[in-house]
């Protein structure tokens, strides 16, 4: 029982892991400036030009998982056709920023909306 109660993945508290190195450190994070003086639709241009391929990869994986659960493709169809309508109900400046991200990345707006409401969907 004691063995079962013990977390098989647990370990003693680590020490001296900072500055980050070694196998648990996978790299530093790039820094981007978001200029709030620009119109909302232009703020994310530079970042999205640099990261569009990575974002496409994640969204495609999400769609693949959705297709695995709903093989008819209905779930993905809803994202591409219905979710895009949500944009007109979202508050300013977020609605304009999402449109800007879709334009800069070339990713359909419905998929950008999906990525931005993922948290709300997955709290169940």
């Amino acid at each position: 029982l004691a063995a079962l109660a013990e977390d098989p993945f647990g370990e003693d508290c680590r020490s001296k892991t900072y500055p980050p190195t070694g196998p648990t450190f996978k790299g530093t994070v790039p820094i981007y400036i978001i200029n709030l003086d620009l119109p909302p639709s232009r703020r994310w241009d530079k970042l999205m030009r640099d990261k569009k391929m990575e974002l496409k990869t994640v969204i495609q994986s999400i769609k693949n998982i959705a297709n695995a659960f709903v093989p008819s493709g209905k779930a993905v169809e809803i994202v591409d056709t219905k979710l895009v309508r949500l944009i007109s109900t979202l508050p300013y400046p977020f609605n304009e920023e999402l449109k800007g991200i879709a334009n800069a990345s070339g990713i359909p707006l419905g998929e950008i909306v999906l990525f931005n409401i993922f948290y709300e969907i997955f709290t169940v």
Binding site: F25, K26, I31, D37, L47, L90
Partner: protein, 253 residues
């Protein structure tokens, strides 16, 4: 996720988190990793939001996501958000929104608004406590003065609990994973107990960002879902983020 706000003996505040995401979103047997967790790592960026060429706030974000999950308003406050699972979850909020009930706020938009417009710890706290939401959440807020730190447990409608720092009474840190603090965590997902054990072992006199990084590097606080670790120190406006990897014998969540 695991978020921690801690106060040292001099009253200096530290705020750090492990961002865990991707549970049940496809397991890659070959690489022994969650597909979405792995694919999100190249999307992690530090954003410096500026007005008139001056920093308004900084955040650690996924490129393409306009809301905030971790952010710092230098000299004023720090904020992280942890996911709170509930049957009364965000999908109900989305349905209500589609049906025309739009008095709630999208979680990411609220955190962004607080970071962009908040002018004090108390103002940020009030907004996070009172604003109606589409989805439940935990907000972990740190300020820049002794005692300014809390975990706000939110349902969609209201704050269920506000757990404040109080170093004079022994509460020199607050720590949140993904469970209500008055309930035991899921037996298979207890990151709270080992994290608290490591914090207590570190002791208040030794607390620092490197010490908290040690805690967040300990399994199972570091696990297969961990995308990155963010360290923030409000008085100096310091914010650092590191991509993480849990290889070998690691908890899948």
């Amino acid at each position: 996720c695991t978020s921690i706000v801690a106060e040292d003996k001099s009253g200096k505040l530290y705020h750090a988190r492990n961002l865990d995401f991707g549970l049940f979103l496809g397991w890659d047997i070959k690489n022994s990793s969650w597909i979405i967790t792995r694919e999100l790592k190249p999307l992690v960026v530090t954003l410096d939001f500026q007005r008139n060429n001056k920093t308004v706030f900084k955040s650690t974000n996924f490129a393409g996501y306009v809301g905030m999950v971790s952010g710092i308003k230098p000299g004023i406050f720090t904020l992280t958000m942890n996911e709170r699972f509930s049957l009364d979850g965000g999908y109900i909020g989305i349905f209500e929104w589609i049906l025309g009930r739009r008095d709630g706020m999208w979680m990411g938009f609220l955190t962004r608004t607080v970071l962009e417009n908040g002018t004090s710890y108390q103002e940020a706290k009030d907004q996070l406590v009172k604003t109606r939401l589409l989805a439940p959440a935990y907000f972990i807020l740190g300020g820049n003065k002794s005692g300014e730190g809390c975990v706000i447990t939110r349902s969609r409608q209201a704050a269920l609990d506000v757990w404040d720092l109080n170093a004079n009474r022994g509460t020199w840190y607050v720590l949140e994973t993904n469970y209500d603090r008055w309930k035991a965590p899921l037996v298979l997902d207890d990151r709270r107990t080992p994290a608290m054990k490591c914090m207590n072992q570190t002791k208040q006199e030794n607390i620092s960002l490197p010490a908290i990084y040690d805690v967040l590097s300990t399994k199972p606080i570091l696990n297969k879902l961990t995308v990155c670790t963010t360290l923030m120190e409000v008085s100096e406006g310091r914010s650092e983020s590191y991509l993480r990897e849990c290889i070998g014998s690691c908890s899948p969540w």
